[in-house]
């Protein structure tokens, strides 16, 4: 049982990072427009995030240094400073989207206006950050988020034509109605949603919070290999549900209520309730993860003391940063901006910022002064290099594609 609970960090990172509001929206949008023809991107993203999260986790466990300390140490204050500003902005956008997501999900469950739920959600997020123990936080949010498995159940209940779904996925065959640039724009968005840098900040800092050492490298591997593929499967089932129900009906997803439509159709109110609880837990977990990551990245760049394992008074600047981030997020939402739109923006901009985070991790994972005998093996380095090429290509293509396609419209 302890081994299983030991995977909680990976599950929360994956549930919160992979199946956050960004993925719920992006996968459902993609499923309803392209069927499963972008499923390969999710697979590529899962392998990539497994690779780099396990590398960052290994660096943190062996050297005790979390990702942003390494980013600054290798890139110097100027480039790392640009990265911290960009990462903070993206993480803040994501946090905003997640708090909005909690409010929307609570709105679905209660039909109380989302704007009334926003401050409640923000306050709840802060209270957990302030008071709840790291392990308790990750177990509760991670395990409740698993209720999203309801999407997979719904898929089976819908009894789709599996052969047809497979034909959409391999070889990838986008519907003729969509333009190639739009297809690639969503490919980059999905890739960005899968590999968002805050997942790596959170995972490596979480390893420090849980005081991992070289002895915990097996735990690191289990976490990564269970958590992220699970997140990938949940993402795919969300996309598949949309492909089965929404694509033939010609419904384009623009609200959370449409994402859960297939679930309601297949499993009735009971399954819908389960999935809504799952969505609240997953977006709540993601809100915690992004709020913490905003604190982690700034604190590690400037060298402040940080971490939930310390008394808040002993990581004062870290906690002040997180309070400001949550307040800013709530403030942005109160202008009644659409959280779904904020999400789509944040996902594309994460694709732009990816190389600045993943290059230093790969470099330090090869530095024997940090890693001793735990440096990268040849296979990991070869795969890492291939992924760097993909990551740089996605980063360069993101903004031009966004402009060319009018953000996918």
């Amino acid at each position: 049982m302890k081994k299983v609970m030991g995977a909680a960090l990976g599950i929360l990172t994956a549930i919160g990072g992979f199946v956050d509001i960004g993925d719920l929206v992006t996968n459902a949008v993609v499923g309803s427009r392209f069927g499963l023809s972008l499923a390969w991107v999710v697979a590529v993203g899962v392998v990539g995030i497994c690779l780099f999260a396990s590398m960052a986790g290994r660096v943190a466990a062996v050297s005790g240094r979390a990702t942003f300390e390494i980013v600054r140490e290798r890139l110097g204050p100027r480039v790392a400073g640009a990265n911290v500003v960009a990462s903070f902005a993206i993480t803040l956008l994501t946090l905003t989207a997640e708090i909005g997501g909690i409010a929307l999900a609570l709105h679905l469950a209660s039909s109380v206006e989302p704007r009334l739920w926003i401050p409640v959600a923000g306050l709840a997020v802060w209270l957990v950050l302030w008071r709840v123990k790291f392990e308790v936080m990750e177990n509760v949010a991670g395990l409740m988020g698993l209720l999203l498995v309801g999407f997979a159940v719904a898929l089976f209940l819908l009894g789709p034509d599996w052969g047809e779904l497979l034909r959409q996925a391999v070889p990838p065959s986008p519907p003729g109605t969509e333009h190639a640039a739009t297809y690639w724009y969503y490919a980059v968005a999905l890739f960005g949603a899968a590999m968002t840098p805050y997942e790596v900040f959170f995972f490596s800092s979480g390893a420090v919070e849980e005081r991992w050492t070289a002895k915990d490298l097996a735990t690191n591997r289990i976490n990564v290999l269970i958590g992220f593929p699970l997140g990938g499967l949940l993402s795919l089932s969300i996309a598949a549900c949309a492909a089965v129900v929404l694509l033939p009906a010609g419904i384009e997803v623009s609200a959370l209520s449409q994402i859960v439509l297939p679930v309601a159709q297949a499993g009735g109110p009971l399954l819908l309730a389960v999935v809504i609880v799952g969505i609240v837990a997953a977006t709540f977990g993601a809100a915690l993860e992004t709020a913490l990551s905003s604190g982690y990245s700034v604190a590690q760049y400037l060298g402040w003391s940080w971490g939930k394992f310390r008394r808040p008074a002993h990581a004062a600047r870290f906690h002040v940063t997180m309070i400001l981030a949550v307040l800013l997020g709530v403030g942005i939402l109160m202008t009644s901006v659409d959280p779904v739109m904020v999400t789509e923006m944040s996902v594309v901009f994460s694709a732009v910022a990816l190389p600045l985070t993943y290059v230093p991790i790969l470099v330090v994972a090869n530095d024997p002064q940090y890693m001793g005998r735990y440096v990268n093996g040849r296979f990991v380095n070869a795969l890492g290099t291939v992924y760097l090429v993909i990551v740089v290509a996605a980063a360069l293509a993101a903004v031009p594609l966004m402009i060319a396609t009018g953000a996918g419209s």
Partner: protein, 125 residues
């Protein structure tokens, strides 16, 4: 630590994490202050040594130019450094350092005053 090793200031000192005697993070190394061998001002053409680690405002002057009065810069004396590894470890505790005043101010005036601010999360409850 009698074995000699080459320390590259840019690679091994700048931007490394500084930890105090208890292993608590203090700041990252934002800049280094060089002094003459006798602790006097460094002079061109003469040997210099690292006198102190500078933190805080010197990061901004390094990034954006400009200058801060040298006497105003928060510094950690090099004599307080115990070990240079993947982090710089000090032989003193952070609350004895003037360099950490922002953290201490926020602790005493803001975060420590919010209910639960001094609660130990590792304790049960």
């Amino acid at each position: 630590m009698t074995r000699e090793r080459i320390v590259d200031a840019r690679l091994h000192l700048l931007s490394r994490q500084v930890l105090d005697a208890d292993g608590e993070p203090v700041r990252a190394v934002d800049d280094l202050e060089l002094t003459g061998p006798d602790g006097q001002e460094a002079r061109p053409g003469e040997a210099v040594r690292v006198g102190a680690i500078l933190v805080g405002p010197s990061l901004f002057t390094r990034l954006f130019g400009g200058a801060v009065l040298a006497s105003r810069l928060p510094r950690i004396a090099w004599s307080d450094v115990a070990h240079v590894g993947t982090a710089i470890e000090l032989s003193v505790r952070s609350d004895e350092l003037d360099a950490d005043w922002v953290e201490l101010w926020l602790r005493d005036h803001l975060v420590g005053r919010i209910p639960g601010g001094r609660h130990d999360p590792e304790a049960d409850g």
